[in-house]
């Protein structure tokens, strides 16, 4: 794209979340795209307004006020494109994450082939896969009919058979759907998305079309060795949007406002996470987490083999699956730096219910922030355990979500992440401070320059490079773990012995680079294998290089007083910079 065009475009990006709706304004400043301002309003998709667009309007008004730019005309309509006097915007994009998850049933022939591909079709969308049917299902026909009918899906993905391949299993699933149609009243019948053997497509339309809304898409498994997800995914997202828009007033208007450049936040987040991974750890393993109020989006793995999941877990309505689980509540209590909160002595367990039923409230006291961060730690531990696996070795960690992005100080966000994810090895940590990863992912579709230039600016500068050694068995507190040297390009260096239990911060400002050399003690793994040294060039960040000598997995003390003291000590340790830089 010619530079002159880049410089003239002003972009508005809207994010309709469960708790908040945000409006982001991107414009060029001295030839570089920058985030100008962010407007915000409590979301209005739910009660009492039941109109997602109202909060969008209020967020844009807030944005107008903060940016000083006129975006709305006298009638309150968005000015598109920009006027000769520089009012308005040139393009609008949007993301959404405020609806209820859709119930999906997957039908395929083999679990590891068509069913796995069908699962990838729905990956990252806000769905709950409520039942799966395969050719190897041992249940009787009656049991299968009952299971299907009682799953009350919104969408059924009917996959199976390579093109001109297996027919029998797919036909059996068509029969199953015809039985179910006799039990479901018309108004309860789901959409059918057929993504299987194309030789059967016409028959599927003919047999099922009389009973269901049927959409046909190319086979997700045209041959055993071939997978073709994209067209099926596009068809699936189209149905998804129709169903969500029907259930969430205002979303269809947003679709019009953005001229269709409107996607699920999770998908935009995934796209940006992949972009950042290419930037920070092209050959490594990454983990990206967006911790929302109702959903958590997770992306993990290498660039070639990254997996993405959106879980119905979060720090609001997303606590519903957890608030009744005693083990989860015990875990929150075991990590909290206090037993009670507030003048009435609300217990930590009570706070979990409070947050679930009052998801949009903000803590007004320090202790409230501590407890929200504790909740985030515990939820992150569950997210990591159910996706990438506990204490993962990751080269790049991207985090988004209110509790991390809007943390009162960056040290707090880092501690929440380190305790929640417990990464091993050497990890570059980036926090999406403006919570705009999702919208940038969508914006990338219409203008990559914005994304490249905004990602290179302050809102996406790395938070820290963290070295997290791990070892087997116990290691006495204070025992040496590794010798760490950070050599700066101008000849100075800082060298430290990292002791077990310590958190140390070494200076390395954003934009600078230094050579990190780590010589671990026997049996200690710093990312290169037990006892193996590590040499790596590391980039500067807000908090520099952080050495986490607490080991993996790390658990806080059982005694609440000790826990509180340690909570403070850790925060203090990350505020302190090592001063022993030698020439």
């Amino acid at each position: 794209m010619p530079a002159s065009l880049v410089e003239t475009d002003v972009f508005l990006a809207l994010d309709v979340g469960t708790a908040f709706t945000r409006a982001f304004l991107f414009d060029s400043v001295e030839g570089q795209y920058r985030l100008i301002a962010v407007g915000q309003a409590p979301s209005s998709a739910g009660p009492p307004s039941h109109d997602a667009l109202l909060a969008v309007e209020q967020a844009i008004e807030d944005l107008q006020r903060l940016s000083g730019m006129r975006l709305l005309d006298e009638d309150g309509a968005l000015i598109v494109p920009t006027s000769a006097t520089g009012e308005g915007v040139d393009a609008v994009v949007g993301t959404v994450s405020c609806g209820r998850p859709l119930r999906v049933v997957i039908m395929g022939v083999l679990p590891e082939l068509s069913v796995a591909s069908a699962r990838r079709v729905v990956t990252g969308a806000y769905v709950d896969v409520v039942a799966t049917f395969t050719a190897t299902d041992a249940a009787t026909l009656e049991e299968q009919v009952q299971r299907l009918v009682e799953s009350y899906p919104d969408i059924i993905i009917l996959a199976g058979g390579t093109d001109r391949g297996a027919r029998q299993a797919v036909t059996a699933h068509i029969d199953l759907l015809l039985w179910a149609a006799r039990l479901w009243p018309l108004v309860q019948r789901p959409w059918i998305l057929f993504v299987g053997n194309q030789a059967l497509a016409e028959g599927v339309q003919k047999r099922l079309g009389a009973h269901y809304e049927v959409r046909l898409a190319p086979n997700v498994r045209p041959s055993i060795t071939q997978e073709n997800i994209a067209p099926a995914r596009e068809a699936f997202l189209d149905i998804f949007r129709l169903l969500w828009a029907a259930r969430t007033p205002g979303l269809e208007d947003l679709h019009v406002l953005t001229k269709g450049r409107f996607a699920l936040s999770a998908l935009g987040f995934g796209r940006l996470a992949r972009y950042l991974q290419r930037l920070y750890a092209p050959g490594g393993v990454s983990l990206a987490v967006d911790l929302g109020a109702a959903y958590t989006t997770v992306l993990w793995g290498t660039l070639d083999g990254a997996e993405q999941r959106t879980l119905p877990w979060g720090l609001g309505p997303g606590l519903a699956p957890w608030e009744t689980q005693a083990a989860f509540i015990r875990q929150v209590e075991a990590w909290a730096p206090m037993e009670t909160l507030g003048p009435q002595g609300m217990r930590v367990a009570d706070f979990v219910h409070w947050k679930r039923w009052h998801p949009f409230t903000l803590p007004v006291e320090e202790a409230g922030v501590d407890l929200e961060e504790t909740l985030a730690r515990t939820l992150l531990q569950q997210v990591v355990r159910h996706t990438v696996g506990s204490t993962p070795q990751v080269d790049f960690l991207l985090a988004s979500g209110g509790v991390l992005s809007a943390a009162p100080e960056p040290q707090r966000a880092l501690l929440t992440l380190l305790d929640g994810v417990q990464p091993r090895g050497l990890t570059t940590v980036v926090v999406d401070y403006a919570q705009m990863a999702g919208v940038l992912g969508v914006l990338a579709e219409i203008n990559e320059y914005v994304v490249v230039q905004v990602v290179g600016s302050a809102p996406f500068s790395p938070l820290a490079t963290v070295l997290s050694p791990s070892w087997r068995g116990q290691r006495r507190e204070g025992a040496a773990v590794a010798q760490v040297t950070l050599a700066y390009p101008h000849g100075e260096a800082v060298s430290r012995t990292l002791h077990a239990g310590q958190l140390v911060r070494l200076p390395l400002a954003p934009g600078r680079r230094a050579a990190l050399t780590v010589q671990p003690q026997r049996g200690v793994d710093v990312g290169a294998g037990p006892g193996e040294p590590l040499q790596r060039e590391v980039m500067g960040s807000l908090l520099g290089v952080v050495l986490d000598g607490r080991g993996r997995p790390w658990q806080p003390p059982a005694d609440v007083e000790a826990r509180r003291a340690q909570w403070q000590a850790h925060r203090q340790a990350l505020r302190r910079l090592t001063q022993e830089v030698r020439a």
């Binding site: 708790a19 009660p47 009492p48 009919v145 039985w179 009435q344 609300m346 217990r347 006291e365 409230g368």
Partner: protein, 364 residues
């Protein structure tokens, strides 16, 4: 408008929690999925009446008629003696085929309903069905039918909304269990004189209270706050448990406590359904009044206005209400370092507090 701040155009309505001595309520009662509505507009209903239902579970049998009769699927069509939607009793003939002296029959193994026969000559017989039902929840009349979801029930009386309910609905006579809104209820507070009542208490942190209430055949329990330790017992209680304000040792708001305790001996319907944060329906208590005039219509949301009665949603101000001093939010950094849009509130105890706008709920 507060001096020195910029007036914003009115934003989306803020949620309202209703605590009203005289209210006219229109309450949507919806099934989880579309189904059959069983009431007509204008009909009077009582709180326990089922107004709509939808199948939850089906038990089915698939009978292979072709195989049983030794016929081709085409021949089965001529042998079938029932039609789709027919009800059949155990032993009724479903299909019959005669060739010469030989007569073959397939009879219904159980009572049920024929749901259809497929192209392969298999018959689907539904032999059992469980329903998801929605009850009226309030004593009133059907204002509108929401085909195929349920209906809107209109009711009048004193009305109090809460934040949590255990899913039960019942009615009984109100009886205070604690003298103060910020007092916990203890098992010893529940005596034989409380048999079959709807108890009202400041808050409950002792699970034994729920066991004792069960022994006394309570018709309902209304508390300001309920602790985690009590939640499991509350979920399993056979009577409705409704929380008006929050969790843990959260006192009941002054407005709710005053209204409930001043109505001692009056009949109350406790609709302790969980708070539906998608559609907005909250658990509620409705007190029947002998005669109502000038009842005010309940509205789900309103814009913020100075002087409005509000509740502060925050563990540090549990059960606290007050007057909104300004409706104009401003960005401010809170003492804990968070940045938020805030407003000022004069609490009932005279204290002036600055709270994030998202921590405000209008009280009517």
């Amino acid at each position: 408008m507060t001096q020195g701040t910029q007036e914003l155009t009115p934003g989306p309505a803020r949620p309202v929690c209703h605590i009203m001595p005289l209210a006219r309520v229109e309450r949507e009662r919806r099934l989880p999925r579309p189904g059959q509505v069983r009431v007509a507009e204008g009909r009077e209903v009582t709180f326990a009446e089922v107004i709509a239902a939808t199948p939850k579970r089906h038990r089915v049998l698939i009978l292979d008629l072709a195989r049983a009769l030794g016929l081709s699927p085409k021949q089965v069509r001529q042998a079938i003696k029932v039609r789709a939607r027919d009800r059949v009793e155990k032993g009724d003939i479903l299909a019959e085929w005669r060739r010469g002296l030989v007569r073959r029959r397939v009879t219904a193994p159980q009572r049920g309903r024929v749901m259809g026969v497929d192209a392969r000559g298999r018959l689907l017989l539904r032999v059992g069905i469980e329903w998801d039902e929605v009850r009226a929840g309030l004593n009133g009349l059907v204002a509108r039918v929401l085909e195929p979801w349920g209906a809107v029930i209109r009711a009048e009386g004193s009305y109090i909304e809460g934040v949590w309910g255990n899913g039960q609905v019942a009615a009984g006579l109100l009886r205070p269990l604690t003298a103060r809104r910020n007092s916990p209820v203890d098992e010893d507070d529940l005596g034989l004189e409380h048999r079959g009542v709807v108890g009202v208490a400041g808050y409950c942190v002792n699970p034994k209270v729920l066991a004792r209430a069960e022994e006394l055949s309570f018709r309902g329990l209304i508390v300001g706050g309920l602790s985690h330790a009590c939640l499991e017992a509350a979920r399993e209680a056979s009577f409705p448990v409704l929380v008006t304000d929050g969790f843990g040792p959260t006192p009941m708001s002054e407005e709710a406590f005053r209204l409930l305790t001043s109505a001692e001996g009056r009949s109350a319907v406790v609709l302790a359904e969980p708070w539906d944060q998608v559609h907005g329906a909250r658990p509620c208590v409705m007190l029947d009044l002998p005669h109502i005039s000038q009842a005010e219509m309940v509205r789900p949301g309103e814009p913020l206005l100075p002087g409005q009665n509000v509740r502060v949603l925050d563990p540090f101000h549990p059960g606290q209400t007050g007057a909104l001093l300004s409706s104009t939010p401003r960005w401010e950094r809170l003492p804990n370092g968070l940045k938020a849009q805030v407003v000022d509130v004069r609490l009932r105890n005279g204290q002036r507090v600055t709270v994030p706008i998202v921590n405000i709920e209008i009280l009517r």
